[in-house]
């Protein structure tokens, strides 16, 4: 059972505590939103959970094994990671970038065969990029690039997906498209942990919400339970009304 279990992780950098005693789990079939103000420690938490950053305390288990003992390729086969900054060093073709998702399976770029090639094709199709497959990435718009990065993550066909602000700086239509893609990915049996700033979208798509503030997890549960005006005031410092699944943010508290 592929499950990411994070137990009491703390992350220190110099004298500052970025994450303090955080615990959560991520299993297949879940769409989990990770929310919190800037600087709450969300990125540090997910990086420590994957073993990309050292935790000063606690441990993170992937399928029962400590992530630190896994090789990068083993971990990549279980978790597909979409980081916050997504530079592209060279003007590769869309297909080549998406093919990098199969890296952990040992495939050389440009000569993918069999299962690898099929996975790439599926990812391209899922993200509506089949027509753009031969285009160079430096000729794409922001929305198209976001879909390329998603496709790259999906091509790995890993049981879990962790995405750090995948819809930042996108227009509303592109935002919906990306989140729809992630939801269909979850619907096919994967688990996704997505860092989001748009609370409305998070509430709409996520089956569970994890709220962070000042390096701590302060709430972890379905939107119905955790999404309250008090929470919003506490976490973000804003006045808000919650009506069903609609949230009206009225101003700073």
């Amino acid at each position: 059972m592929t499950e990411l279990t994070v137990r009491n992780i703390s992350v220190q950098a110099d004298k500052a505590t970025l994450v303090s005693d955080a615990s959560f789990t991520l299993t297949r079939g879940e769409f989990v939103a990770l929310l919190g103000p800037n600087g709450a420690g969300k990125t540090s938490l997910i990086r420590a959970a994957m073993g990309l950053q050292d935790a000063s305390d606690g441990q993170s288990l992937l399928g029962g094994t400590d992530v630190k003992t896994l090789s990068p390729a083993e971990r990549a086969r279980q978790i597909a990671y979409l980081p916050q900054t997504r530079p592209l060093a060279w003007p590769n073709s869309v297909r080549d970038v998406v093919s990098l998702g199969r890296f952990s399976h040992g495939a050389p770029l440009g000569r993918l065969k069999g299962l690898d090639a099929e996975a790439v094709d599926r990812a391209l199709q899922a993200c509506g990029l089949t027509d753009l497959a031969a285009r160079k990435t430096n000729t794409l718009s922001g929305g198209e690039l976001a879909r390329v990065h998603c496709a790259r993550a999906f091509a790995a066909e890993a049981p879990l997906l962790i995405a750090d602000e995948p819809i930042a700086a996108l227009d509303p239509r592109q935002q919906f498209r990306i989140l729809d893609l992630i939801r269909s990915y979850v619907d096919q049996g994967s688990g996704a942990l997505v860092v989001l700033h748009d609370i409305q979208l998070a509430a709409r798509y996520a089956s569970r919400m994890i709220w962070m503030k000042d390096g701590r997890i302060v709430a972890d549960g379905p939107p119905a339970d955790t999404l309250t005006p008090d929470r919003l005031r506490h976490i973000y410092g804003v006045n808000a009304r919650v009506e069903g699944s609609q949230i009206f943010i009225e101003g700073a508290a």
Binding site: M50, S71, P72, A76, P83, P87, D96, L100, S104, K136
Partner: protein
């Protein structure tokens, strides 16, 4: 796409032609029929000696030096994600030259003939290590190139100082050869000492080329897709150091060769660093053999240095590539 699959065969054929053409040049006149006879069997002993012991080793030395610098340049560009990275620009060749001259003029090279290439490699590895550590601390490639300039300047100055203080006497022409590069009078003896290291370095770079593709996504995402960053950095640094050190031991410090070839090759291989390694090696070898032909054709009183011709071609290319990059890329 057709032209992309023609790249390798075209480079191989062009390389062979260039090597044969290089054999046409020499201080005694050897007409084509005797030359070809010497290459393919027949012809008298003197002709065979001239072609196989004098002209061919020189051409082959130029080729493998070019190939070593080309593959190192392509790999370093993949690692640092920047088309301006290259052993000469980053001070690796100059550092290798410094250690090579140190071992030669302080008597260390008399212990064993392997001491010279090993010393050059130590110099190259030190420089690549410095560059890589610097690359971890700064995202700006301008800073890296400045560090490379600093390394080159330091190595050049230290070399002048050491050679003036050396217990073994030296000739000024020797120092110029080390700093500007030359394949004059190269025989299979010298090639045999340098080739194992060039080959080892090239193989390491080739074996770890996939990681260079992964780095296209940036270091964070590359780790995410399963790249062991530390191992990739070490492998690329060691491979480039071995290949560059071997090349410098054979022909002195030649700069800018590793810039032109990868830049030309990249559009043909989809800008994938991994697929650019071998074609860059072949094209750089070809360029250096052609440069060595020019060096012997240009009528100057003393033979021009190979590094001069390489810089005449490569430095304008360097400036042009630098100007083409958008400001945002730094």
């Amino acid at each position: 796409m057709m032209r992309d699959s023609l790249l390798m065969p075209a480079l191989i054929i062009a390389s062979i032609l260039a090597l044969v053409a290089a054999c046409f040049l020499g201080s005694t006149s050897l007409p084509a029929d005797r030359l070809l006879a010497a290459l393919f069997g027949g012809a008298d002993a003197g002709d065979r000696l001239v072609v196989w012991q004098i002209r061919l080793p020189r051409a082959i030395a130029a080729y493998i030096v070019g190939a070593a610098l080309g593959i190192s340049g392509a790999a370093l560009q993949g690692l640092l994600r920047n088309p301006l990275a290259e052993p000469g620009v980053l001070g690796v060749s100059a550092s290798a030259s410094l250690m090579a001259t140190f071992s030669l003029y302080y008597g260390i090279a008399t212990i064993t003939p392997w001491a010279l290439p090993i010393a050059a490699i130590i110099g190259a590895l030190t420089a690549t290590a410095v560059i890589t550590i610097a690359a971890l601390r700064t995202q700006s490639v301008v800073t890296l190139i400045l560090i490379g300039v600093g390394l080159s300047s330091f190595a050049g100055a230290a070399m002048s100082l050491l050679m003036n203080l050396a217990p073994n006497p030296f000739s000024l022409s020797d120092m110029i050869n080390w700093m500007l590069g030359s394949v004059a009078n190269r025989s299979f003896d010298e090639i045999r000492l340098a080739a194992p290291f060039i080959l080892a370095g090239g193989l390491i770079l080739f074996a770890t080329r996939r990681g260079l593709s992964a780095l296209t996504l940036g270091e964070e995402a590359a780790s995410g897709i399963g790249l062991d960053l530390r191992r990739q950095r070490i492998a690329t640094v060691v491979g480039a150091g071995l290949a560059t050190g071997g090349a410098v031991a054979l022909a002195g410090a030649i700069g800018f060769v590793g810039i032109v070839a990868p830049h030309i090759v990249r559009p043909f291989v989809g800008h994938d660093p991994a697929r650019s390694l071998i074609p860059s090696a072949l094209l750089s070898g070809l360029i250096l053999v052609v440069a060595d032909i020019f060096v012997r054709l240009i009528p100057t009183s003393s033979e021009l240095k190979l590094g001069v011709v390489a810089a005449l071609i490569g430095a304008p290319a360097f400036v042009w590539i630098a100007m083409q990059r958008r400001a945002g890329n730094d």
